[in-house]
């Protein structure tokens, strides 16, 4: 291996080769990047510097039927943490400042670990202004902590509507997975009631502002002066069929009681009020719902989260007698003049007692007096399966399809059911109790509302619903939603007869004469559902004005006793609120309605 001459031709060639080789490699590489793969890099470059900023639209508000605002949006401060910049040793300080249980902040952060640490996490909504100013003062010591102004739900009309409106909540991981085309982590979605059912109408459409950002993602201006921006579209403002005043009265009356109230407009199926009691405070859900609050709701023995109006199942008691009367009249097994003798009871295998001796009663007076004997016998004339057929016509044993989601179907027995249970020779005596709405009949308050609406409007109505339509903000007109029409095809005369009986319940010598008042006539029927676990449940169904009903009401109060005493007065107050609206407003007084007579004992 001898030395090579200085500056040899060989070595020049090698250096020449290296230079040309590097030049060639660079040229090929540049050609590949700038000519062949240009589009890919171009796309990346565009995505790099133009950042879409999501514009969350205002959620649609809720109006009541008189266009009073029931639910709106109010600005509130939300504390956020961006984990990428956040120091977890601040957890304890924040827990203290927010006034939450130790470990709260940590648990929120943990729940959001699955998402990018550059996405800010909402830790708590609706924080006090004092916390905001504390954040401002100490911002330099709080890396990754900030606050934003966001809209949260407000309830300006003083209506709780917890089971009606529902609430919005940060989207769950499961729902996000299903609908990731639209939602992003941290988005709020309707979680219950109308908020959930009409989510797609209420949420509007997100917009995007395109901004130029530098490499540190700092915004440095609008992209093309906002030419490509897409403005968000506000959610639709829903017009509910609810009457804020009736709803408010119902909520006040039900406070401290357990049960449900539904008011409905018979001719349209529009729900005027819907209350399940106890309620819960929807304002609590405007914040990041604390676990404690949810646990409290879940563990409450009175089950406030349970929507009694659509979910609770009870025997309808005497309110169900109307159904048998209609069936018998429509089938022609009785005429208005058919009488049945009541001597204080009825024997079929065993003795079924009545709460009095009513003598020979026709159907009108049987309803007026709520005569058990009459209805014990009537169901045998109708037959069990026919009886169920009529129940089905009125919508029992099935969901009403109301537009707030969760709902129970209830249960109406038929022959097949008993045959299956007891065999071919099932004890026919069971039927007697069914005739007066006791035993294995279970219905929801909402089903009863539909039922009374159909009675009041002679068998014609619409599927019960809460949202009438939405307000077109340009024209100011209500764009109505369509709901299915119901026509039972039962003769008007049949309804006239039972309605006469219901009229007499209040206006005659019936079980709710204490509702009589000088302003309008009420028709109704009281009921008491037997409760094997405690005091009976009080029921009342009714409508007013009797001559041309515009409101029908169902009241169910649990564990209090007789329907006439406990349920009927609530219905009366709601009818007052609806029918005497102007009068009450003009007077601005709270006249005490004198109780004219005590409830009579029935059943």
């Amino acid at each position: 291996m001898s030395a090579v001459d200085f500056a040899s031709v060989n070595r020049k060639s090698i250096l020449y080769g290296i230079i040309i080789l590097v030049f060639a490699i660079f040229t090929i590489r540049l050609f590949q990047m700038q000519v062949l793969n240009h589009e890919m890099y171009d796309e990346k470059s565009a995505g790099n510097s133009i950042k879409p900023i999501e514009q969350i639209p205002l959620r649609g508000v809720f109006y009541d039927r008189n266009l009073n605002v029931l639910v709106d949006n109010i600005p509130a401060y939300t504390l956020r943490i961006t984990p990428a910049y956040y120091d977890t040793s601040l957890n304890k300080v924040l827990d203290k400042v927010l006034g939450v249980n130790p470990g709260f902040v940590q648990s929120i952060l943990k729940r959001n670990q699955i998402y990018s640490k550059y996405i800010p996490i909402r830790v708590r909504r609706g924080i006090d202004f004092s916390i905001v100013s504390w954040l401002e003062e100490n911002s330099e010591f709080l890396p990754g902590v900030d606050y934003i102004v966001e809209m949260q739900r407000g309830y300006p009309y003083g209506v709780m509507g917890s089971h009606l409106f529902g609430y919005t909540k940060e989207i769950s991981a499961q729902q996000l997975e299903k609908e990731k085309d639209y939602y992003k982590p941290g988005d709020y979605v309707g979680h219950n009631g109308i908020e959930k059912q009409y989510e797609k109408d209420l949420r509007g459409e997100k917009g995007f502002h395109y901004v130029l950002v530098d490499s540190r993602r700092r915004e440095i201006g609008r992209y093309k002066d906002g030419e490509k921006d897409k403005e968000s579209i506000k959610g639709k403002d829903l017009v509910l069929s609810i009457d804020g005043d009736v709803q408010k009265v119902a909520e006040e009356e039900m406070r401290g009681k357990k049960g449900a109230v539904v008011a409905i407009e018979p001719s349209t199926g529009e729900i005027l009020a819907l209350v399940s009691s106890p309620e819960y405070d929807l304002n609590q859900f405007s914040y990041i719902t604390s676990k404690d609050f949810l646990e409290e709701l879940y563990s409450d023995p009175d089950k406030p989260l349970f929507n009694r109006a659509t979910m609770s199942l009870k025997p309808p008691g005497s309110t169900y007698k109307i159904l048998a009367a209609i069936a018998a009249l429509d089938m022609g097994v009785i005429t208005p003049s058919t009488t049945i003798y009541c001597g204080g009871g009825f024997t079929f295998g065993r003795f079924f007692k009545c709460h009095g001796s009513h003598g020979a009663v026709n159907v009108v007076h049987a309803i007026e007096k709520s005569c058990n004997t009459f209805f014990y016998q009537l169901i045998y004339k109708i037959g069990l399966d026919k009886w169920k057929e009529y129940a089905m016509k009125f919508g029992f044993n099935q969901k009403t399809g109301i537009d707030i989601g969760e709902e129970a179907a209830g249960f109406i027995p038929d022959e097949a059911y008993y045959k299956k249970l007891y065999g071919e020779n099932w004890p026919r005596s069971i039927m007697a109790s069914l005739g007066i709405g006791q035993g294995e009949v279970s219905v929801t308050p909402l089903q009863l509302a539909k039922y009374v609406a159909l009675i009041a409007n002679d068998g014609k109505s619409f599927r019960p619903h809460i949202v009438k339509g939405y307000l077109d903000n340009k024209t100011g007109n209500i764009v109505p939603y369509e709901f299915e029409k119901i026509n039972l095809n039962i003769k008007k005369e049949v309804f006239d007869i039972v309605k006469e009986g219901m009229f007499l319940v209040v206006q005659g010598a019936g079980t709710a004469t204490h509702l009589r008042n000088p302003d309008y006539h009420i028709s109704g029927k009281t009921g008491t559902a037997q409760n094997p676990h405690g005091k009976d449940h009080a029921l009342f169904i009714g409508f007013a004005p009797s001559e041309k009903p515009t409101i029908a009401v169902v009241v169910v109060v649990e564990n209090v006793g007789f329907g006439g005493t406990h349920a009927a007065p609530i219905a009366k107050k709601m009818m007052d609120a609806y029918l005497l609206k102007d009068k009450l407003k003009n007077k601005k007084t709270t006249e005490v309605q004198p109780v004219i007579a005590g409830a009579q004992i029935e059943d």
């Binding site: 030395a3 070595r11 540049l30 700038q34 000519v35 240009h38 790099n48």
Partner: protein, 409 residues
Amino acid sequence: MRIDYKISDKFDFKIFIPATLLVVIGLAAVYSATLNNPAAVNNFEKQLLATAVAYVVFFIAYSVPTNTFKLISIPAYLLSLLFLVVVLVIGRKISGAKSWLAFGPFGFQPSEFAKIGTILLLANFLSRLNNNIDSFKDILLALAIGFIPIGLILLEPDMGTSFIFISLILVILFWKGISLLGLFVVLSPGLVAISSLFGSVPFIVSLLIVLVALFFFKKDLFFSGSVFAINLAAGFFTDNLYNALSPHQQARIKSFIDPMSDPLGTGYNSIQAMVAVGSGGIFGKGYLQGNQTQLQYIPEQWTDFIYCAIGEEFGFIGAILVISLFLIIFLRLLNLASTTKDEFLSLVVIGILGVYFTHFLINVGMVIGILPIIGVPLSFVSYGGSSMVSNMFMLGIVMNIFRTRKNYA
């Protein structure tokens, strides 16, 4: 002596014009890259001033008698070392490296000028030897001349500039005519050192290769043993050196192995640089229209990543133009080095070519994503006063050598 010589006989326009075009393109790119950055608002003016100074320096270097370079080689080298020591003591830290000496409003990077001192002394030393540097002692001495400044620069620490020095030493030794064995002795510790960075298995494999090579060179046991010991030491030394590196440099080495491993961290620059160049397309996005450049996607783009701005705003055409200008300069210098009869001057030219070429290779290579991110500027183009002045100084030297090339027989 003829008086009416052609000016092109004394002044090599084929080097000067491409270099000046690069300077002009560089100024335009620096203007574009700093336009929207408040932190760099004065950089264009500073660069303009430095360029003016650099051309003055160029003409001085061009005009002085050619033997000056040999005369100043020892003092220039010693002065370089002195400044490299001083900068470690009182230097200012800029982006992690203590490489900057400030004199009032002015400042300079001693390592830029140490290149010149090192080239001159190394060329001087080697040209005194009689066509034979195979003696172990000579190689060691030559390496010492080169590695003392490298050691000082690594202490700053400035890895990129160290690479430039290693490269210029190798190119000069190669040009001098070092034997394959000599080259092996010089190169192998470096290769073993780099292998050791990738883990113990590559380290052991590289040591085995060294053993096999030593067997084929058939040298005596003492020589082979020494070389092997040096290689072994280099491997272990690298491990220590790696641990001594600042975290950002360690991260850079790691991110070269897999740049996508941390797209927001150290791999970020590499990705953004490629996006900038690639999105330029054939004709570019237009001057001052590159969003990657204008939106400051790449930190301090006007220095080491200036080629991105060119690639993005002037496209494939502009990018090819720039590397073509460099190609002309390189081939011209190679030609000059091989036609210059004086050995010292020839070695100086080849050393300067080595400096220009290594800057070009590392800088453009990293911007287009085929080399790791090592911070070295692109000669004539990148922002930086010291670099501009030293590059034009070296250009003055080679043009001076061209001017007097016919004086040596």
